[in-house]
Symmetry: C2
């Protein structure tokens, strides 16, 4: 049977041949994870993803979620794989064994996560958000909070969420209206309504833990007065036993375009005045807590966009190899031209190459980010940790936006490859597109990512993260030149220099009276960075592959050749479009802000 | 209440100020349609679209279609508006009154059609396909066929379809397996199965007329042996009365990602050996008949893509003016920054301007194509008719592909503007995206359009249509220079020249041993043409608007200023990306065909 979800050979290529993640086995932290162990873990993850999760992709979409008597019922088909997922310890892959984790290096956890989310993102969001909630408690929680909640979350025994959004406070978190009032016992009384809470409730678990942003009475307006609280669905007594119902009521589940299997809940906290929570982290520092979690959460959404894309790509390649339709262009004039598998048609090949180049480029970027986390987690040199932390900071908004935008594009091409069948729900491609659309919106819309990149990250530490990123790209350019790929290397170098010019132009404008014009081009600048990063990853891939072609055996040879050709494709065919975007950023049009508001509709 | 579907001011601008369609009232054919009459017709169309059709957009999506005992049940909410639509004579707007039409100029009919399809495309497809079926009979039918069917179709009393696709013959129509065997009475016995038949059956009409492609026994293989037949659901006797059931059986309706309200049917013809049809047009010339209808049908699909886009755009502008979220960037540091309508945020404005520029540019292109049809239909000068026919030929694949691809992009941005609400089905934006996806697939996938452009249209008549198109663009450049818009004019001129170079490069390669490489870049070349045409349309718009700004009254002033700023936006911010695509086409990568087939998946 054809491979599904993600190409194992390519996963191995990135983990071992590009990033050499087994190097971390030389550190104390990851001493258990040599190449062999990593490969075993990845094999187990794939087996689980294909056998247990993938079958729920369509069933979850069709069954959807239900709200009955205030209790969310997830798709029935989710129950069994959820139980197994927890038992197999996949919830907290990269966390310490003491708190229920597997202790995997981040890069390896990402490779496993890619398989799980690619198999069914709507399913994976339940343990994913649970893990995110656990992370908050691990980072900021008191000993008591950790004792009560952490292991329950990391083992998936209880569920977890993140409650930010309110009807009048979406991207503008500071405008929230939820209120916390101190009780005598040190807890807080919580009153407020939250919307768009992914995995907001579930009948797979007996309790759900909600981190809730709210303003303590008397705190300043805006983001400076927001605190974070841990609010369980069922109160948890100090000895860990369940207390009373905590007045956390699911008031609705959304009817969405996609991810039908995940319950997107509206939740009323304290509608009867009986909801209690405990402060986590410092008073009025709730936004800081959010920022602490942000890079990993956004990387998670980038992984989702990528997961949809890689599954759609694998489906498309398999389909294009089997579907026979129309003769090859060169045999059109034969007496009786015969149909060929559509993978032979130039336009179909181009679509597949676009998909491949985004999927593999994004895989490299995501694992690379995992690698950065692992460098931070293992290096004893502060300068090294700072460097990789900075790289994570600067790359995160690009990965989130580019990964989800291009993921969506890939899913759209994945439909196109199937022709009319792509539009039919019996085939898998339509759902992947529907599901994927949310990823460009939540965890900060992609427009917000662009503001983050231009407004916070570009000038961070006097531009050091951006300079470090450019240094990393230079290293790949040097490697490619060594491998004799001078033409490609020169093209990527030109793009690198041009993005540098863009950064100077837009960064300068953002600190001048042209501030608004700069932010008008922020999204396009972010795309330029994404295009450059893809070119970087493909150049790196080609530079590693090129010297291995000659001595490789048949199957590996095709793989390595494919790496070099894909890089050539991206750099020759796609990157020039990126260069055009860079010209546009440099021109920094004033038209966006000049447009009279009354002129949008006549 | 805010305007919906399409901006009336902009519709009027294109019809009257750009194209001066009232000029056709000086011809005999369109003597009745002066400006006043055109405006009245358009007002009636808008009233009907908003009041009768638009309310069925969501209901039709939710109700969907059902197949009960072999009979398709369309969404119940469609029945009443369908009856009124027919009574008001909207089915055959641009056809002669003698056969049930309204006799409108094509440009005006397109403006009305934009409103109808923008209000509910799934609904409009029933009369739309009925009209297309009527066109086939009007063009190729015998007197008897016309007498029996034409008026029934043009008035919408009966339904009509187009039956091309079979399970093993999608884009490759020549591979079809349906068979026609001559009967003694001059009819043919038809046996075959067709799939993806839009509006394939309906309980709104007593009969459905199916033009069916099939091969007469003994005819050559491939496209050269295909004939076209008229196959009614209920046989129609020579006196127009219904005969017996014609063995046309709907075997299934597809469960689709979008256009739920339209019945996409699988149909078995002659499963019991009792299906009769009559030949239409010449034997073995079925493909020619298809080609005859193709430009108008593809223009119709372009209009659909545009219809989704314009509705999504109008929704987005209205939403962005109302939705208050986050303070203006300039007031971020105020003591108590207040939220503003999101239309003030640079990134939102940019998204709206991208949407506006595609919507308005595409509106201009579509009405311009209608104008070309009207020139062909009214000019007494053969050279003029040839020129406009050629322009229709060359522009059609670009309009179909670009209109649907950019329509989809606009719908995706339309979701983005709504944030999380865009993903919720209670709001209108998600459905528009779901519905729109099919337009890049049917009536020839957009990849097929690119093959048509490169393989047939570019070199047609020794390149005269392409040269004429470039001449039309030159005329707008001259007009813009007259209006003092030299900078914009120069930029469009540079793009025009660059597309000329691309055409030479790719056209030359297509006739050399680089044939496959050329077709590998065909889609990108098609996009370049689309980008150039958008720039042309915006330059033309700005050139007409600029001289009017000074003396215009307030509302018109804002409109005209908006035209100039939108042109500036497109030419400064979007066109450079198109120039990048042109560089890529000129580079004509060989990587697409070099890619080893085994290298797509490792």
């Amino acid at each position: 049977m054809a491979q599904q979800i993600a190409d194992r050979r390519d996963q191995d290529y990135v983990l071992h041949e590009m990033l050499n993640v087994a190097q971390f086995s030389e550190t104390e932290k990851y001493g258990d994870f040599n190449k062999k162990t990593i490969d075993m873990v990845l094999s187990e993850a794939r087996k689980f993803a294909v056998n247990e999760i993938l079958p729920t992709q369509k069933t979850g979409d069709e069954e959807g979620v239900k709200l009955e008597n205030g209790q969310v019922k997830v798709p029935p088909s989710f129950h069994k794989p959820y139980k197994l997922f927890c038992e197999n310890e996949w919830v907290a892959m990269a966390d310490a064994p003491e708190v229920g984790g597997q202790g995997l290096p981040h890069a390896v956890a990402l490779a496993c996560g890619e398989l799980f989310t690619g198999a069914n993102c709507a399913f994976l969001m339940y343990p994913g958000l649970t893990h995110g909630c656990g992370n908050i408690i691990a980072s900021l929680g008191s000993d008591k909070q950790k004792e009560l909640y952490l292991k329950k979350l990391y083992t998936g025994e209880w569920g977890g969420t993140m409650c930010l959004t309110e009807a009048n406070a979406g991207s503008d978190v500071g405008a929230l209206e939820s209120v916390a009032t101190p009780n005598d016992d040190g807890t807080y009384n919580i009153v407020g309504s939250k919307i768009f809470i992914s995995g907001g409730d579930s009948d797979m678990v007996p309790n759900v833990i909600h981190p809730v942003l709210a303003r303590i009475e008397g705190s300043p307006a805006g983001t400076r007065g927001i605190s974070l609280f841990i609010v369980p669905k069922l109160w948890v007594n100090d000895d860990g036993s369940f207390g009373e119902d905590n007045d956390v009521v699911v008031t609705g589940v959304e009817h969405k375009m996609g991810i039908h299997g995940n319950a997107t809940c509206s939740i009323a906290f304290g509608g009867k005045g009986k909801c209690r929570g405990t402060l986590i982290g410092e008073k009025n520092k709730g936004m800081k807590a959010m920022f602490l979690m942000m890079n990993e959460a956004r990387q998670g959404v980038a992984l989702q966009g990528h997961g949809f894309a890689t599954t759609s790509y694998m489906n498309a390649v398999n389909y294009a190899k089997e579907r026979v339709q129309s003769p090859n262009l060169l045999s059109m004039l034969d007496a009786e031209p015969k149909g060929v598998p559509i993978i032979q048609h130039p336009d179909v090949r181009r679509n597949l190459l676009i998909m491949k180049s985004y999927v593999e480029g994004m895989r490299s970027l995501l694992y690379y980010m995992g690698f950065c986390f692992d460098m931070v987690g293992t290096s004893e040199d502060e300068a090294v940790r700072d460097k990789y932390n900075g790289l994570i900071e600067i790359v995160t908004p690009v990965a989130k936006s580019y990964g989800t935008d291009k993921g969506f594009e890939v899913c759209s091409l994945g439909i196109q490859i199937y022709g009319g069948y792509g539009f039919i729900e019996e085939y898998p491609q339509a759902q992947l597109l529907r599901d994927c659309k949310i990823t460009s919106i939540y965890e900060g819309t992609n427009g917000i990512q662009a503001m983050d990149l231009l407004g916070r990250k570009l000038g961070m530490k006097k531009g050091k993260p951006m300079m470090d990123l450019m240094g990393e790209i230079q290293a790949a350019i040097a490697l490619a030149k060594e491998a004799g790929l001078d033409d490609m290397a020169a093209k990527v170098e030109a793009a690198l220099n041009k993005v540098g010019e863009c950064a100077m132009a837009i960064g300068g404008a953002a600190m001048s009276e042209k501030l608004l014009d700069a932010f008008g081009s922020a999204t396009l600048f972010q795309e330029c960075c994404g295009d450059l990063i893809m070119a970087w990853m493909h150049l790196w891939r080609a530079a590693v592959a090129q010297p291995k072609i000659e001595k490789a055996k048949k199957k590996d040879k095709a793989f390595y050749e494919g790496q070099v050709v894909t890089a050539k494709f991206f750099i020759e065919h796609m990157l020039p479009v990126g260069l055009g975007k860079m010209d546009s950023v440099k021109a920094l049009t004033a038209s966006i802000m000049e447009m009279p508001e009354d002129s949008f509709i006549g």
